[in-house]
């Protein structure tokens, strides 16, 4: 875990509301695992006050570069997305636990909702580079075609890529969780693993689908954060029954959890 002020080396406006930032952060590029995140300071003033968490999308250990994908939803993300090359950010990271890599021979489903695609791109890369073979399917859901940010980055790392839009503007029509359920109906003799990142209702649906299909499922959650390092207990979610702790910290115990570790009934929106 480092506290650094890396510099932005490039900025790409991916969609009207998504920006891809490339930062020079060799320590992070070397240390980060797919699914881990950074805690960014978004203002030097007292408002907005708290840092904002952003996933590490991709790392390039050789060059020391890392990529973030930022969706503008409020003032903090707006400030991050507005960063120009040369500007630097105060960051803490890499934070949290990333995705465990599925063993060789397994069939993998990467299920992204909106900007939740970011950590799954890094995961696709890591799965592809890991020793052994895996069949990687990806499903990317969004409201409409123009919000399928960086979809090519995901598609090119998978054997099959499916776009799912609510308005049917491209790919399958409907919810990405429904598309996943359809995919899982095709039988597969070996091990299957689902990895999902996106809005909470999507993750809840996918946890249920994974449970029903008896497929190992990992979800990456988003919660407001204070410290980002596990100290303040502000970012917790309810743990499933056998846990000793009633609550788990998204920043430290997550953001990636086995879906079975969580109490989805008590999960706040």
């Amino acid at each position: 875990m480092f506290n650094l002020t890396p510099t932005v080396v490039s900025r790409e406006q991916v969609t009207p509301v998504h920006v891809r930032l490339r930062l020079s952060a060799p320590e992070i590029a070397l240390a980060a695992l797919p699914g881990q995140f950074l805690h960014l300071r978004v203002s030097a003033a007292c408002d907005p006050l708290l840092r904002r968490p952003f996933s590490i999308m991709l790392t390039e250990p050789a060059t020391g570069l890392i990529d973030l994908l930022v969706q503008v939803v409020g003032r903090g993300s707006e400030a991050v997305a507005a960063a120009m090359p040369g500007q630097s950010f105060d960051i803490i990271g890499p934070l949290g636990h990333g995705f465990p890599l599925a063993p060789s021979g397994s069939q993998v489903f990467l299920v992204a909702g909106g900007v939740g695609v970011a950590p799954l791109i890094g995961l696709a890369e890591a799965l592809a580079e890991a020793p052994g073979e895996r069949e990687i399917f990806s499903l990317f859901g969004a409201r409409t075609e123009s919000l399928l940010c960086c979809w090519l980055e995901l598609a090119e790392r998978c054997v099959e890529f499916t776009a799912v839009t609510e308005d049917g503007s491209i790919g399958e029509t409907g919810l990405v969780s429904e598309a996943l359920a359809r995919r899982l109906q095709a039988p597969f003799p070996g091990k299957r693993v689902i990895y999902a990142c996106g809005p909470m209702p999507m993750l809840t649906a996918i946890a249920a689908i994974g449970r029903e299909a008896d497929v190992e499922t990992y979800v990456s959650l988003e919660r407001w954060m204070g410290c980002g390092v596990g100290a303040c207990l502000g970012c917790v979610v309810p743990a499933a029954a056998p846990s000793v702790e009633r609550y788990l910290r998204v920043c430290k115990d997550g953001p990636v959890f086995p879906a079975t570790a969580l109490d989805w009934e008590a999960m706040p929106r």
């Binding site: 875990m1 007292c46 204070g226 390092v229 596990g230 970012c235 917790v236 609550y247 706040p268």
Partner: protein
Amino acid sequence: MSAVDLSVELCGLGLKNPVMVASGIFGYGTEYADLVDVSSLGALVTKAVTLEPREGNPPPRLCETPAAMLNAIGLQNPGVEVFVTEKLPALRDFGVPIIVNVAGATLEDYVAVARRLAETEGLAALELNVSCPNVKAGGLHCGVSPDLTAELVATVKAACPLPLITKLSPNVTDIASIARAAVEAGSDALSLINTLLGMAIDVERQAPVLANVTGGLSGPAIRPVAVRMVWEVARAVPVPIIGMGGIMTARDALEFLLAGATAVAIGTANFVNPDTAAEVLKGLEDYCRRHEVARLSDLIGAAHQY
């Protein structure tokens, strides 16, 4: 000019410097150890410890507000026994004075925790959390009444020989009267302020943001209230004060020292910048040099002579 003497004397504890980390911010010390040189702190105050383990409030537990945040953690902690056996050893290794923040639902709870801590090696002091605004029983109700505060202070004092610091709630009409009651009952020092009681509403869902409905407001927004209360309490009681509430910089810490605090604690600012304590300490030293103050302790309460 020669080195500035940054040490302060806090109810028998000689602190090497007056910059501490506030309760609930650093957990039990280890989470921040990668980022912060914990051993350079003047002291470290733990997250609240209760007799039994507490699971805390349901989420959402925090949200941001202008220049501040609301939290309703709700005393989540593993209980005093686990604290002593599993958390404390690592804390002690930092080599800084450890102040344990103690909370409870009943007088008996507090006494049991205090007794257990009295038997424990390597603690510097207890900080009595009479003011946690998030738990219905024991928390807010006690800290807003001089009589209940006095009773609690006297009872805990009798149960544990460690220096006793009472942490006051700002959600009161007359902070000085509560401070006087605590000191007359035997409190060796006071901490102020705890969080202001606040709430936020999610206007899209038309419901409170926090599952607990209300939460504690902390951060720079509350600093003027905190400085005012330290100022009032410093005039009312003779014991040392640990000032906190929105300290982000050395300038902010100086407001508290000049208002009468002997030490300061950094809370929310740690989330924004984990280096805050170190930067505050550095800034205090620079200020002393610039103002030709040989001992930082000479600044305590200086603004009362204006």
